[in-house]
Symmetry: C2
Subunit: 377 residues, 2 copies
Amino acid sequence: MFRFSLITTDGKARRGRIYTPHGVIETPVFMPVGTQGTVKAILHKDLLSLGTQIILGNTYHLYLRPGTEVIKKAGGLHRFISWDKPILTDSGGYQVFSLAKGRGGKKPAVRITEEGVEFRDHLGGDLHLFTPERVIEIQEIFGSDIIMPLDECVEYPVEKEYAKKALERTLKWLERSIKAKRREDQALFGIVQGAFWEDLRKEATLRTLAFDEHLFGYSIGGLSVGEPKEIMYEMTGVVCELLPPHKPRYLMGVGKPEDILEAVERGVDMFDCVVPTRNARTGTLFTSQGVIDIRHAKWKEDFSPLDPECDCYTCRNFSKAYLRHLFVAEEITAYVLNTIHNLRFYHKLMEDIRKAIEEGRFKELKEDYLKRVSVKL
Amino acid sequence: MFRFSLITTDGKARRGRIYTPHGVIETPVFMPVGTQGTVKAILHKDLLSLGTQIILGNTYHLYLRPGTEVIKKAGGLHRFISWDKPILTDSGGYQVFSLAKGRGGKKPAVRITEEGVEFRDHLGGDLHLFTPERVIEIQEIFGSDIIMPLDECVEYPVEKEYAKKALERTLKWLERSIKAKRREDQALFGIVQGAFWEDLRKEATLRTLAFDEHLFGYSIGGLSVGEPKEIMYEMTGVVCELLPPHKPRYLMGVGKPEDILEAVERGVDMFDCVVPTRNARTGTLFTSQGVIDIRHAKWKEDFSPLDPECDCYTCRNFSKAYLRHLFVAEEITAYVLNTIHNLRFYHKLMEDIRKAIEEGRFKELKEDYLKRVSVKL
């Protein structure tokens, strides 16, 4: 039912294919984030037409709203949201731990014990308990194709002693997750933590590998949480070096185009990030010539397309002047058109990456891209 | 270049066809409102796929933002917004006079003289002057297919004496508009005012008819401005009785499905209204079984389509439970999916009306519809 096939490699970059009950995923892949059962500001039909292969759902948000009962009665998440392609859900851990920072000087709304994580939600403030078992149960109700175990994600900077504790807890929770898992039509990933130390990352990887027979793939967690980029890239490399070649690797919550290129070069297959969709809604648009702030007055009378090299609906039909006008006028269609473009940019980047790996020229592609996309127009 | 052909009638209901430089419009027609160069919360491609034949643009809003200079440099409104089908623009009068009521006890921001209307805009508060000549000039820059002369629209209730003054002014401004008009590829309508008195409406109609050779069609203005529905229907009937059969009639700013049916029965061909799009964004959805408030808890676990008789993308793919979830979660896609549905409902209503007139059964259709659509589920 689940299978990962490694088609070819180019250096450490990998061209693969994931088979799931809801279809095939060509890797390296970018997965748009569908937080609350929809990718923000874009319809499913537009996602499909611009090349989305799999979307991500956030367990924390879906558990709160519409709630597991509604999703269960609908016959699972795919049916509830009418999305027939693969879905990956996270463990909810990242959202819960984000609450732990407290807001506006308030007391942290989270208590972590060996049992699990107790938290007050951001909507009504009700008290909840996420345990490894409960998080698996919720995702089994969702019926997502790829599921994640509860883990403890620490942010940068952190004391090494605490990072070690979080790593231990994550491993214990992984063991309990594996025991709790029932459904055969879902694939579980192990999450490698270890924060920002090479020795902790190595230890986390090797000890997660002890559960390899139960794991379809490996997630690299706890990165892109405030640390310098070099640390993110280094830690990604350290973990990938130790992972088995025949299983997919997923760098959680990453990232910008340059981060994706750096991580693919180190052997990562899967990515998710809110950057393309969130930036679309704030007017920051990716183009083959660099990043554009569409709000800027200099686009007021620029009737050329946003990105002449892009084949998306937005670029084939509308000018920068029109997109700027819609954004300044706070029209909803501005967010929709921008989202279509930014996601198409990401998917096209992944298509280019896959092709370059197949043709043994990933390094050239990466260098060419880094020169272009890092420019702020 | 412009032609109206009356295909058939059923009682006073009319089945017609308007030929414009940007294509043919089957009437009776509903025109979605594209206030600022986009119909709110829906992409052009979706408008086309659900049967939109012509959209309306608001001169007041487009004049302020992006401004006439930008639209001129873009090569006109069609090119600026990339919409190849017909566009109708209003005169801006209605928006300006809405400002005249003043806001929050502030002094009215509008001064009306014989020359025109002086007003402060709602954005930066700058002072502007709309004269009949200027309003024609602006619309000639836009290049909209169907244009409106500046008129004075009064709200309900109003003193008859003032309504008479507004009527006189509207007629004088029409004469000046006709003199100012230059472009041959745009069609001007005359606007019939006269408020809520039969004698004033008759006078307004007959005196507007004096300019018939310069007018492609007739707008009925100053209705749906707070008066009881019976008055709206009665005044519509009074005006239509006196209008020439071979020219299109446009009831401005109307309306709800029941208003459209009543007006078609009295001989109106064209409609525009923000109701379907605005209601979509507040969760009020039209269905063949009645009106639905999608926010209501009773839809929480209702996995049936919004309207089983509707063929739109929203109804063919998603459940009421999902649409409710998206709306409660304040997702942008909720507004988009709701807008697609409400506009499709309106366009389907017009398709049904056109077919019923062709088949001589408009009265049955109207009675059947009124029974159904007036229900609040």
